[in-house]
Symmetry: C2
DNA sequence: CGGATATTTGACGAATCTCAATAGGCGTGG
DNA sequence: CCACGCCTATTGAGATTCGTCAAATATCCG
């Protein structure tokens, strides 16, 4: 096990490569995504401090992973992990808990992608970043947006343009304030929650 | 642990109820879904012979489950499961494997919902049913469709009408043959795979 | 400072949704 | 056995949301 430091916008591993390592995000932010043969991309999650990465029991990675910013990772060789599991059953329970949590998040994202409008998706996304801010001990109405508009679009199943237009719309309705591309204030959390409609 | 028999179109459990049982589908078919407050629904998966159901490590179910047809389930009380896990670490590995598999399926579904066209979604769906048929020892080009058009729509993030129109389109292009609402032949698997584009 | 890249904005078009009508299946009861 | 009614699926026409293409603006970084 070793700690590694990763520069912004670096590939960490690629889908269908042999899954040699498992990671834990210590600091920074990571996106994970799958590609279609013609180049369309779906980002299936963003990972932050404390999240597990590459947690598969297949022989190959099921998705690609890339850093959004300078990021610190703990790396375990996977073959060591397997023997470790036999020694520490407690760890296995933690992994099962993590997988269960990820699964619940994946199902929420399916609801978002299958049934929510662009406005609802963007509101849900901003509230997700608000929860991340909270987890990091920041005020929940002041968010950092470490990903590009393209990343947001590929996460929400929208185009860059729709993401941008919806942000502008929220801004002009006084729901948010954009400090710059990467930083925003949520001026009306209640209204955003209303829009997001997440059961 | 007991085996229970469930009639078609019966609720098995409801989202946010205390998760008292874990199930294994022995026979039949089950849909699992989440609702938005205004009644929109997203079906997050269909389960068949051998699939685990209600596999959560939260105290409440994360989704509702309903039978599509007459279905047989194995039921475990969850509190017994937890002590069982301590005795049989092997079981925990199987559950972790199942969770990992479900997670991979969830990510594929996110790609479908976020980035695929109606045609691509329907082709992917028909091929999924083809794999189910194979798993059941049936020819892979003769599928049973145990769910309604509404279910298909809520699974693929489409409306009933779009599902129906796309089926008609496939039929008129000689890709499929509809025996009745619930049964079809896939006349050109290669073409459907081409359309589905699943990386 | 300046070129490259990312974001915003605008005009238009297309895929899918909505609403409405029709057709088909299936069970019940006459 | 047929007729009726109910429910689901299909088909059609028009509306709408979001995507596409294009241009302008802003931002980043050497």
């Amino acid at each position: 096990m070793s700690t590694i430091l990763i520069k912004p916008h670096r590939l960490i591993f690629v889908e269908s490569e042999p899954a040699e390592n498992v990671f834990n995000v210590t600091d920074g932010a990571v996106k994970i995504y799958k590609m279609l043969p013609d180049g369309r991309r779906q980002i299936t999650g963003f990972l932050f401090h404390g999240d597990f990465l590459g947690l598969v029991f297949n022989e190959t990675y099921a998705y690609s992973a890339e850093s959004l910013m300078q990021t610190k990772l703990c790396r375990f060789p996977r073959h060591k992990l397997e023997s470790l599991l036999n020694e520490l059953p407690k760890l296995e329970q933690r992994l099962l808990g993590a997988a269960s949590h990820e699964l619940a998040a994946a199902q929420d994202q399916m609801v978002l992608l299958g049934r929510k409008s662009a406005r609802e998706r963007m509101a849900s996304f901003l509230l997700m970043l608000s929860k991340v801010a909270e987890r990091h001990g920041q005020p929940d109405n002041s968010i950092v947006i470490p990903m590009s508009r393209a990343d947001i679009g590929d996460y929400l199943g929208l185009t860059i343009e729709t993401v941008s237009r919806t942000m502008t719309q929220f801004k002009s309705q006084g729901l948010i304030e954009l400090l710059d591309d990467k930083q925003a204030k949520l001026l009306n959390l209640a209204a955003l929650q209303e829009i997001a409609m997440s059961a």
